[in-house]
Amino acid sequence: MHIKYESQLREPLVYGEKTFHQVTEDILRPIESKPSRLWYVGFFISVCLLMFGVYSVYREVTYGIGQWNLNKTIGWGWDITNFVWWVGIGHAGTLISAILLLFRQGWRTGVNRAAEAMTIFAVMCAGQFPIFHMGRVWLAFFIMPYPNSRGPLWVNFNSPLLWDVFAISTYFTVSLLFWYSGLIPDLATVRDRAFTKLRKKLYGITAFGWTGSTKHWQRHESLSLVLAGLSTPLVLSVHTIVSFDFATSVIPGWHTTIFPPYFVAGAIFSGFAMVQTLMLVVRKVFGLQDYITVGHIEMMNKVIVLTGSIVGIAYLTELFMGWYSQNKYEGYTFWYSRAYLFSPYGWSYWGMMACNVLSPQIFWSKKMRRNLFVTFFMSIIVNIGMWFERFVIIVTSLYRDYLPSSWSVYYSPSIYEIGFYMGTFGLFFTCFFLFAKYFPVIAVAEIKYVLKRSGESYKTGMEKLEAQPLDNFIHDNAHH
């Protein structure tokens, strides 16, 4: 009888026989070599989109929100849809880094760095919308509760929009700290391997003087735990509060108590989909298949099918309540404005249903979960579906609310509304391309840590031990 040191059930978290050095080499290669042509093309497109966004925002700030196609009935449209969408995407990163860290899920190490970066960029994108949807953005500072000479005039602490300000800024700050504190050891590695003075200097500054000393590691570990502890409630609170923007209102279709859990599930759903989209590209482009393995992909697909089903149940619950409440206004919103396919926005509701509820069900099949093409396709579908979800919630509720006299004409976005959205894509990908070029997309130090417990080299390292009979082991250990 022999002892097995490596799990027979779990897949290795890193493929191939890797040494620590090999890991460093693999992951830092993109940083230390010239970017590929593909990188330049992608970066250029991103910057173009960003410029389109900047121009769109310039138009809107200079000439007014009238540059968008919102109206007296539909006060929010693409702007807040995109806001909620981006915030939702920004959920996966912290979930992966914080909650999975606390749950000791080793597989998170392959994806947490990029996911956290994605979170930060997504929240940056999300933040643009509530800021620039303001009619007078130059007075945006009014929403900060600062001591002033106006009375003093305070903000309205009853307003969910104010809660948003706090929730999102807190989330952003904590996520940023979390991400950056995790980056420090890796930045030090890049600094130590620097081949030019400038690199040494810059990475030296960003590494905050990390030496790898025990004390540094000790502090680093404690900080990570503290931040993980702080982030965990934030993962739940941010989207809960975003959902309050709607749930606390009086508008049929918004005024719904189910929103907080439903929004959080939806956020994780879309966040994971976005991580999938990015990871599949990153692992391919940077050749990191050994670190972001099919196992990782499968894990995330499981989360997707779970959260997709949760939102599905939420949709059905809403429909049920629309009928069960016997409230004619709710009934109209849910059963006509949304669920009736031939109503003006019926297509968006059924688009949402198809993308979010029906299509992820294919992930019950293991074969599909491990199929990269299917995964990539589905990750896009899910994000389209989640965009529709927010659009459905916002627009189909608003456009026909209480008074039939105020029912709106058909709303479709103006070029500048689309431009603003595209601009945030530009911002997101510009940031992500820069991140991928200048920062390690996988946590080098953490992978090395995982390597001690999983992967080929661990396996070979343990072969000698495993070959020993069990008696030897007992003997050796009993000795102690």
Binding site: I65, S249, K328, Y329, Y336, Y340, R400, S405, S406, V409
Partner: protein, 1042 residues
């Protein structure tokens, strides 16, 4: 085993000094401030390390200075120059009110002009006029904007070139020999008439012809035929318990609608204890404002009106109805006849037809039902319309025949509005001396040789006699803005009279009244009323009736599609077309702005357009997309292409087009691109202009044209239930059967929270607040409101509500603080209509207030939901969360008040840019902030007036009373549908309305517990038919429960 040395760095391997030092220091905490460690080593504290603090102060100082420099960029300074010599009686910031009169063509309304710092900014009705009793119309309210119209002529023109009055006088003196023809619109001024008479006497052979674009010549001629007098009697709808209208739009555009609306509303006001109402039966060709208010209405073809009149005459005489095959119409005639006979001597029939025979038969009916001398008073004749179409037709022929050398136009614009405009043009080309007195270079004026700019009525002296014995006066409220000269001045001058009209008027009236003091006093009141009102009937000439009946009976029933040309309440026959406020005023019937269109019935839409409004999908598709199908309408070889609107309540085989559109661009920016001229479609029969045509063909062109509607959905029933919380209507029969039906409905709605009594406290988890002191409240009587829109324009004028132009209305960006919602119920082919004025409801538990992140909208201690524009950052959350959707957002820089310069060009259209022209801006009310781009605005309950009223009371050291204020909408309302005041005051009008009408009062969307401060009194319809929608919903709900 050998102890292997593991090392992390070369330092550790080689045991270097630096490494050892680092190991030593690893757990040592150093304070980050210290730059120079020697300070500490010397035993000093870090507080002594001065460098960082100094640096800090340096940075602080620099950044503060930089920020100060950056922030002090120069702002443009606009200088306000005080009076060098302050005019007496003029207190800056205090308004003066001058009694004057709105005169446009034959329309006369006594008004008070509110003059602020020397410029009139608002017109209010003059309570002293017994005719209108303080009521106004949308056009009266908008007239003040015409004063500041940039398209007004600024100097006289001679052959298209600028000239002085002296030169023109000289030239005309040379040319004026022989006969001249003066063509004017109906002149109500006795003095002007005297001046004209003087001119005619001076120039023998000359004549004065009255030309009305939409004339009442058939009525004048019918009265001549029946009674031997070519006059229009005064109508008294207040005395009529039964009114039958044969498509006469007497609440909208027929004679003097303000007067009639006031009278009509008295019959519609319901006393809850002794419920009784007048009954109004309407025969409708194309859905109209008046028809929408009828208790019972029946649709008919325009060509059937004669037969209906004849049928009605037979019916009231107890004879069988002949000549009508339609069952519904027959029923309608019977219903109308019953109502008329049942209210003999208190009944009235009016007809909008311009067919002499129809009017003669109507006279006969009125005679038969005892209207003559009771509801129709020939003792007081009215002067609103005096034109006889055939007179002008003769002038046109004479001009073409070269018989006329000189023609003078004043207020008449036949080149635009005469059906055969080409003939007028060709005739005018043959006239040697053509003179026009006009404020603008309109279609006719543009073709005249001499153009003498006429002053606006607010710049003029004058008088008017709308009805015999009732005088109302004009006095200038501002010195003329441009080089204008009154028409009368010119005539006096050309008659060789040296006096100017002002002196003439003063002398004349001082003489009539006995002294100049009396004249001044009268002028102050603005009106001079007869001490006793004579009443007189007139005896009917039976032969004329028999003849008319024979003609009507001989006419064959028509089966082709028919066209009815109608006037809109704001635009009229084109007078309102250049006024942006009126163009943007949604038409009460169609809720469309800035255009005319073809109105078709739902049933014609099914066959012609393939749109079935009963099919939810097709109805949605039609409603949510502003581009409407364009149809080519051809009649009598003339055709017009216009978009189509489907308006229930229109006869299936009749289409309607509004007159007054398609004006020449010179009359103002507002007319550019708005609608097409439908006057050429009218026809002249027997010398009279008929605004109805038969043999109309319609063909769909395949094109679409966007129509700017402010309301797209009109039904309040949905598959999920009828929204009776929005609007409540009931029939008089039902009300009598169960007066508390509406109260019970409300009770049921609030039952989950303990019923109405406990609703306020139990409908919320929050404590209930005491609301002591003043609590502003409003009540709107849906029975009195006829949807005329005067309040909407009054609100625009009072509150500086921006005009946004057609492209913006199309995008749902209109800014109206007050709108009049319109709902249909019942049969979609001939539905019941309710108008519901909706403004901010000033909820006590306002959903908008708690969602604003910056507290820009909040509640005043007097129950106002107030908007702080300065604080607003424009998140629009409040607008989203408003269940009434009354909040308006400044999407673009509509007012030119933006801090970003030059951001209107290319963003908003020319009309809007023109509204921020320096001249146009003179109309702005200085008491109300002009809102800039990016902020929300909404009804404030005219808070500036409330403040003014409270201050007035305070200055008099007394508590605030009801009479101290009237809000703008309330003031303008001709039917007194709006009550306003302090709801905490037991004696106020608002409390009285609420206490006296417990059974009809309701709050819109009461079940939301937003606690509005506006009560509505439910619409009660005096018809026997059951309230179909109501009934259906109750049934449906009962079914569901079962």
């Amino acid at each position: 085993m050998e102890q292997k040395k593991h090392w992390q760095s070369f330092g550790e391997l080689n045991n270097s000094e630096a490494f050892n030092a680092e190991v030593q220091n690893e757990f040592k905490e150093e304070l980050p401030f210290v730059e120079d460690e020697s300070t500490l080593e010397k035993g000093g504290s870090f507080l002594q390390a001065k460098a960082p603090r100094r640096d800090f102060l340096k940075y602080l100082g620099f950044s503060t200075a930089a920020a100060a420099v950056a922030a002090s960029c120069e702002m443009p300074i606009k200088k306000a120059i005080p009076f060098a010599n302050k005019p007496e009686d003029l207190v800056p910031g205090i308004s003066d009110y001058y009694a004057t009169t709105y005169v446009q063509d034959g329309d006369v309304i006594s008004v008070l002009a509110k003059v602020r710092d020397g410029r009139p900014i608002k017109l209010e009705g003059n309570d002293l006029s017994p005719l209108t009793n303080g009521g106004t119309s949308a056009r009266v309210q908008a007239a003040v904007l015409d004063l500041y119209d940039t398209a007004r002529l600024r100097f006289p023109l001679m052959s298209g070139k600028e000239a002085s009055f002296e030169n023109i006088d000289k030239a005309i003196a040379a040319e004026l020999n022989g006969a001249a023809v003066i063509v004017t619109s109906s002149i109500t001024s006795p003095s002007t008439k005297a001046v004209i008479a003087q001119f005619l006497a001076k120039h023998p052979g000359s004549k004065h012809v009255t030309y009305d674009a939409v004339s009442h010549s058939s009525m004048l001629l019918a009265n001549e035929a029946c009674y031997g007098k070519r006059v229009l009697p005064s109508y008294q709808f207040d005395k009529a318990k039964a009114v039958v209208s044969l498509s006469a739009d007497f609440l909208g555009t027929w004679l003097n609608p303000v007067e009639f609306a006031k009278q009509y509303a008295t019959g519609k006001k319901l006393n809850e204890k002794t419920p009784a109402m007048s009954k109004h039966v309407h025969f409708e060709t194309v859905a109209s404002l008046t028809g929408s208010n009828a208790d019972q209405k029946y649709t008919c073809r325009p060509s059937e009106i004669g037969a209906i009149a004849a049928g009605l005459l037979s019916a009231v005489k107890g004879q069988p109805i002949t000549g009508i095959n339609d069952v519904k119409l027959k029923e309608g005639i019977a219903v109308a006849a019953d109502a008329l006979i049942g209210n003999k001597n208190a009944a009235l029939v009016v007809a909008g037809s311009n067919d002499v025979n129809v009017q003669i038969i109507v006279n006969a009916i009125n005679d038969a039902i005892g209207a003559n001398g009771n509801t129709i008073n020939f003792g007081v004749t009215v002067n609103y319309r005096q034109g006889i179409d055939s007179d002008f037709a003769t002038v046109v022929d004479d001009m073409n025949a070269g018989k006329i050398n000189t023609v003078l136009f004043y207020g008449a614009n036949p080149v635009y509005s005469w059906p055969q405009a080409d003939k007028v043009k060709s005739g005018l080309a043959k006239v040697k001396t053509s003179i026009s007195f006009n404020a603008k270079l309109d279609e006719t004026t543009a073709l005249c040789k001499y153009v003498l700019p006429a002053p606006h009525f607010l710049e003029s002296w004058g008088d008017a006699e709308p009805a015999a014995g009732y005088y109302t006066f004009l006095q200038p409220t501002i010195s003329p803005l441009f080089k204008t000269r009154p028409f009368e001045d010119s005539l006096l001058k050309w008659s060789g009279d040296a006096t100017d009209f002002t002196t003439y008027l003063k002398n004349e009236w001082s003489r009539k009244l006995g002294s100049e003091t009396a004249w001044n006093k009268t002028l102050q009141a603005g009106v001079l009323n007869p001490t006793s009102v004579p009443t007189a009937g007139a005896s009917l000439n039976g032969a004329a009736v028999a003849n008319a009946l024979a003609v009507v009976a001989a006419s064959k029933p028509n089966t082709t599609i028919e066209l009815a040309l109608y006037q809109k309440i704001g635009i009229g026959a084109g007078q309102g077309a250049s006024n942006p406020w009126l163009q943007e005023l949604p038409d009460p019937v169609t809720r469309a702005t800035w255009d005319n269109y073809i109105i078709v019935s739902p049933s014609m839409a099914r066959t012609l357009l393939n749109i079935d409004l009963n099919n939810a999908g097709q109805a949605d598709d039609y409603e949510v997309h502003p581009p409407k199908k364009v149809v080519k309408l051809t009649v009598d070889g003339k055709s017009i292409e216009l978009p189509v609107l489907i308006i229930p309540g229109t006869h299936p085989q009749t289409v309607g087009i509004a007159l007054g559109y398609g004006r020449a661009e010179a009359v103002g920016k507002a007319v550019i691109g708005t609608g097409k001229n439908a006057f050429p479609l009218a026809c002249i029969e027997n010398g009279t202009v008929h605004f109805n045509c038969t043999n109309v063909t319609l063909s769909v062109t395949g094109e679409t044209y966007p129509v700017a509607l402010t309301q797209t959905h009109f039904r309040y029933d949905t598959a999920q239930g009828t929204r009776t919380e929005v609007v409540k209507e009931i029939t008089l029969a039902e009300y009598k059967k169960n007066p508390t039906e509406i109260l019970e409905e409300r009770e049921a709605e609030t039952k989950p929270y303990g019923g109405l009594e406990k609703y306020e406290a139990q409908g919320t988890i929050y404590p209930v607040y005491e609301r002591p002191g003043i609590k502003w409240g409003m009540s709107v009587d849906l029975n009195s409101c006829n949807g005329c829109g005067a309040c909407v324009v009054a609100c625009n004028a009072e509150n500086n509500v921006a005009v946004v132009g057609k492209p913006e209305v199309l995008r749902g960006h209109e800014m109206h603080w007050l709108r009049i919602d319109k709902y249909f119920s019942g049969d979609m082919d001939n539905p019941n209509v309710v108008f519901q004025p909706l403004m901010c409801q000033h909820c006590d538990n306002a959903p908008c207030e708690n969602v604003c992140p910056v507290a820009a909208t909040n509640h005043s201690s007097e129950g106002l939901n107030q908007m702080t524009y300065n604080r607003c950052i424009g998140t629009r959350y409040c607008a989203n969360n408003c269940p009434f959707k009354v909040r308006r957002f400044n999407w673009s820089d509509y007012s030119g008040a933006d801090s970003f310069p030059d951001n209107q060009e290319g963003i908003v259209n020319d009309v809007v840019i023109n509204m921020s022209d320096d001249l146009t801006r003179m109309v702005l009310n200085p008491d109300v902030t002009v809102r800039s781009r990016g902020v929300i605005e909404k009804c404030s309950f005219c808070v500036q007036r409330l403040q003014e009223g409270k201050l007035k009371a305070k200055k008099d050291s007394r508590p605030f009373e009801d009479g101290d204020i009237k809000v703008a909408c309330q003031q303008s309302c001709p039917t007194n549908a709006i009550s306003f005041g302090n709801a905490n005051d037991k004696h106020s009008a608002i409390t009285k309305v609420r206490v006296e009408n417990p059974n009809r009062s309701f709050y819109v969307l009461e079940q939301l517990h937003v606690l509005p401060n506006v009560t509505y009194l439910a619409k009660v319809r005096n018809s026997d038919e059951h309230e179909a929608a109501h009934e259906a919903s109750n049934e449906k709900e009962a079914e569901k429960k079962a």
